[in-house]
């Protein structure tokens, strides 16, 4: 009887542990920043969906592209248009990857861990492999992740052929991601 209770107890515990292995948030933050001589442009998005799997270090991001908000309405329209990100046809950007150096991260101990994340980013219908630096922070048992990296728009076939937007948007934009799981 005692054995049975212990077995059931262990089974329940492992189910609980398993269910907490994958952490999900639906309100992560993404920002991009473009600098040219003509102007600085930035946009913010607070609807980033992300998951992290603690046992494997798998990291997933899904970004609803129409949730990026710009200071100027006209810029937002340009950004969404079929000439640029074509967000009607490609409503989400997705990243699937993993923390490469998982041995550095102790999810049970508070701290800031610098990690390398590599995986594939799909945006505007184009997929590219990338490896970027990021930070995993554990504070009071809460896990968060952040990273700042550059994206070359041409890699994803994103470009204005002509006109003012073509000169006022940088060829490479800085992307910042901040998620609290």
């Amino acid at each position: 009887m005692k054995k049975l209770i212990i077995t059931i107890g262990l089974a329940v515990l492992s189910i609980v542990a398993f269910s907490q292995d994958k952490l999900i948030t639906k309100s992560g933050h993404a920002k991009f920043f473009s600098h040219t001589v003509a102007e600085d442009i930035q946009a913010n998005n607070y609807k980033v969906i992300s998951s992290i799997t603690l046992s494997t270090g798998e990291l997933i991001f899904s970004i609803p592209m129409q949730s990026f908000e710009f200071e100027k309405s006209l810029m937002q329209k340009h950004y969404n248009s079929p000439k640029f990100l074509d967000t009607k046809q490609f409503p989400k950007a997705k990243f699937k990857g993993a923390i490469k150096d998982m041995s550095k991260v102790d999810f049970t101990k508070d701290g800031e861990y610098s990690v390398l994340v590599s995986g594939s980013l799909t945006m505007h219908g184009e997929t590219k492999e990338l490896t970027e630096k990021g930070t995993i922070t554990i504070k009071g048992g809460k896990v968060s992740a952040s990273s700042t990296f550059n994206i070359t728009l041409a890699d994803y076939k994103i470009a204005f052929a002509k006109g003012k937007p073509s000169t006022n948007i940088a060829k490479t934009v800085e992307v910042t991601i901040n998620v609290n799981y």
Partner: protein, 151 residues
């Protein structure tokens, strides 16, 4: 004659500048005071995207990012808050795998103070993306609405 030409050119130029400046400073669409383009139940909206994503994108999303303003009815599955302090109501029927994630604004937050899980409500907002189950990512993603208010 010359004077007339100069005046007309001047007037045309001024009109051009006014149009350019007003386009540059064109305000964002005011979702809160606009009326809804479509009314739909949360289950129905999710189902449309799961059945045929491209036709649903065509129906609900717009090229310039000012996508359809929807009046969505459904059952409150949960109420939470995002990083900006905006309230988030998830409309989802019990039998559905995904729902409609509705983010309110700091101005409309108070509208849901007295709402409870399980209640049926009508929420107006702009749709940003549809629902999908991405097998590769192992993620069930709700449809996303922002600038929400209670109807």
């Amino acid at each position: 004659m010359l004077k007339k030409v100069l005046i007309s050119v001047g007037i045309l130029g001024a009109i051009g500048i006014i149009i350019a400046v007003s386009m540059f400073y064109m305000p964002h669409r005011d979702v809160l005071s606009a009326s809804a383009d479509l009314e739909v139940q949360s289950s129905e909206l999710v189902k449309e995207f799961l059945t045929n994503a491209s036709s649903a994108n065509e129906k609900y999303l717009s090229d310039d990012g000012d996508s359809k303003i929807l009046n969505v009815s459904g059952r409150i599955e949960s109420i939470s808050e995002d990083g900006l302090g905006q309230k988030v109501v998830l409309l989802k029927n019990k039998e559905d795998k995904m729902g409609v994630n509705c983010t309110f604004t700091l101005e409309t937050n108070d509208q849901i103070n007295n709402l409870k899980v399980g209640q049926i409500v009508n929420i107006k907002g702009v749709i940003r993306a549809g629902a999908e189950y991405d097998e590769d990512l192992g993620l069930a993603e709700d449809a996303i609405m922002e600038k929400c208010s209670l109807i």
